[in-house]
Amino acid sequence: MVTKQAEARQSAWHADGTLREPLLVEPTGHVEQAGRSIPIYDSANETTAPTIVLVHGSSGTARGSFWAVYPILTFTRRVVAFDLQLPEDDAELTLADAVDQLRAVVDHASADGPVALVGYSFGAVVAAAYAAEQPGTLASLALVAGWSKTDRHQLLRNDLWQRLRDADPESLQRLTLLTAYSAGFLVGRNARDWAELQQAATRPYPTQIMRLNREIDITSGLARIDVPTLVVGCTHDAMVPLHHSRTLFGAISDARYLEIEAGHAVSVERPAQLAVAIDDFTVDPHEHPAGTIVPVDHA
C-alpha cells in the first residue's frame, strides 16, 4: 500500500536526497503538431484519478500562470502543462490554432483515459472552445477566470495596454499591477513580495495573445459543452470581471460555480485554494450537482 502510493507521487527529491529543480522551466518533452514542437511539462506520476491538463493564460507560458499551482496538483495527480506556440513573424494567432495545439496535447495526455482539462483566463477560453468542439473526450472541465465574449470593459483595458506597451512601459507595469491583483492583496504585501510583484509585472504579455483577446466570441459553442464543468470566478477580478464567469456558469448546462476572493491573478493570490478546488472537483466532478454554487467552507 505504502509503496504503491509513494510511486503515485512526484517526489520533490532526487534519489540522492537533494532537492529537484524548479518546475515548469525545462520541458520534459515535446508534442509535434502541424510541423512544430510544443514544449510540454509532464509530471508523469501514475495516479488513478484522471490526468490534469493545464492551459495557461495571456502571460504566454505555463510557468507564468501555474508556477505555484502545478506543483500542488502533482502531489496527487499526473499533470501536463504546455507552452502555446505563437506564429512566427508576429503573424496573427487564431483561436482555432490554439485549439489545435491543445488538441494535440490532450491527445498525448489521454493515453490512460479522458483528461481533466483546466484553463485559466485566456486558457479558459481555449479550453471551453475545445470542449465545445470535442464532445465526449474529456473527464471534466474547469474554467478559471475565463470569459466567452470580449466586452467593452475588456476592450478599454486592452486599448490602454496596446497604447502603453511601446510608448510607456512604466505606466504599463502599473496598469498590470492595478488590474491583475486585488487591492487587498497589493496592500497586504511586505516590501520583499511587493518588489517581486513589481518585477514580474515588467514582463509584457505576448502581443499576439493580447490581440486575439479582443476578438473572442465562443458564446454559440457553450451549449455544446457536455462534460461536468467547474466555473471559478474571482471576486475582485479587474481583467475578467466576475460577470463573465457567471455568464459561463449560466450557459454551460452541467456547470457548478465557485467564487474565490481574489483578483485575476488568483494563482498567485490564492494558489492553495485554487489548487485544492481543482483537485477536489476533478476527483469527483459530480460531488456538487449541476447548478450548484459551491459553498465556501470558511476557516
Partner: protein, 517 residues
Amino acid sequence: MTTASATQPSTSGAAAQPSATHAKIAIIGSGFAGLGLAIQLRRRGERDFVVLERAGDVGGTWRDNTYPGAACDIQSHLYSYSFRPNPDWSRVYATQPEIHAYLREAAVDEGVLPHIVFDAELLESTWRPDAGRWALETTAGSFTADYVVTAAGHLSDPKLPQIPGLERFSRPMFHSAQWDHSFDPAGKRVGVIGSGASGIQVVPELAKTAEQLTVFQRSAPYIIPRVDHEYTDGQKSMFRRMPETAQALRDELYWGNEARFPQRRGIADFIAKIEATALDHLHAQVPEGELREQLTPDYMIGCKRILISNDYYPTFLRENVALETSGIVEVTETGIRTNDGEVELDALVLCTGFEAADLPITHRIFDEHGRSMAESWTQGGAAFACSTVAGYPNLFIMNGPNSGLGAGSIIFIIESQIRYILGALDYMAEADASVIEITQEAQDRFIASVDARAEDTVWLNGGCHSWYVDHRYGRLTTVWPDFMHKFRREAGTFRPDEYIVDGEPVAGERELEGVSA
C-alpha cells in the same frame, strides 16, 4: 495578566462533582480543544458531560506558558474559534495573557465552567466491555463515562534535556512552561538552553535585565520577520460592525497559511522564496562574521518549525549576551561545562519543548486487556482519521497522532475534530447504538496513506532532528503531512462505513441491506 471575565474559574469543581460519577462524555483537558468541544456540546443542549482538568484553571498551553514574551506565532484572527470571533484582538499576533483571557471568557460565557472538575488529573482510564463504559481514575476521584475524548494537547508536558548532571545544578532552574515568576534576572548570570519557539521569545526579554545571558544553542533555527501591528480602535469597530470583514480576514489568513504547505513538500520555488526571506532577515540583522555563521541553520528550511521574530537576532549584538554553540558536556552545580570551557550561571532556563511524540496521556489509557494505547502503538502514534484507535472503543483523540501542523492554525484542526466527534455522537444517537470501534484494517489503511504523504516532506528529508518525528521509529507522527483543507475533508466529517457498531461492521450491514432490497 488581564482577565476578561469577572468570574474566576472555580477550582473546586463543586458544581459538577455530585453528578460526575457517571457522565455520557468525559473530556480530558480544558485547553483550546477540550473547551471548544465542551462549548459545542453546550450549544447543542448536551448537559451530560464532564471536563476533567488537571490544573486549577482553563487554558491548557495558554495557561501554562506564562514566560516573558510568550505569544502566538499564528495570527489571532485565525488562531481563535470560528464560532467565537473576537473583534478586539489587540494585534496581529496576540500575546499569552490575551489568548488566555479569551479562553477564560469563552468558558464563562458559554456556561462550560459548571462542567469542569479542576485539579482532576487523569491517572488511568480503562475500557470496561461488560459495562460498555470507560472507568476513569483521577486525583479528584473516580468517574465513568460512555465516551472519552482526550484533549490533552501536544504542548502540555515539558520535556527536559538529556544532559549529564542536570539534576546537580544547585541554583534556580526551571522549564519555560513552568516559569518561576519570583525569579528576577536583574544582575544575574542566566543561561538558556534551547532556541526553538519558546527560546527565541524568552531570550530578548531576559537580555533586557540580566547581567549576562548565555544562550546554549543546539541547532540554529530559521527565523522570518514577524509582520505584526496593533489593530486600531477603528479596525476593531469595523470588525464588530461588519463581522464579514473579520471573516474575510480570517479566510485570507487561512489560505495564506495553506500556501506555505508546499514549502514542506520541498517544492523548489516555494523553498527558494522562504529560504531567501529567512536568510535576508538574518543578514539584515546580524553583520557578516562568526556570529552570523553560528546563527545560520544547517538543514533545509521547514524541517524544524520556522520561527518568527524581529528582536531575537539583534539580542545577540548586545554586550551582555553570548551565543554558545560548542556543545554542552555537562551541567555542574554552578554552571554548564561546554566543549569550550565552563560558564558559571546564577540561573538556568530550559526552553527545551514538550513531549509531543510519545504523548504522556496515551500511557494512561488502557484497553480491556490492560494494554496502554502507547504500548499498542508499536510503530508510534496512529489513529484512524487522526481520531480513533482500534481496541479503544468509544474514545476520540483530539490533537493526537498527525494532528499538529507545520504551517497553519491548530484551531482549524481542533474544529475539524469537533465536527468529527459530534458527527459520531449524532450517528450513535440516531442508530440507538452504544459501542463504536474502528477496525484495525481501516486504521492501517489510513496510516499507510499518511505515511506515504509524509515520505515526501521536508520533515523527513530535510536533514534535521525535530519533534515532529517519532525518532524511535523514524515516522512522522506529530504533524499532518498535507493541507489543512485535506484534514477537514478526511478527518473532519464522520463516516460510519469503516466502524464496528455494537459488534457489527457498518459497511457489512449496508451491503446486506442492499442484497435484501
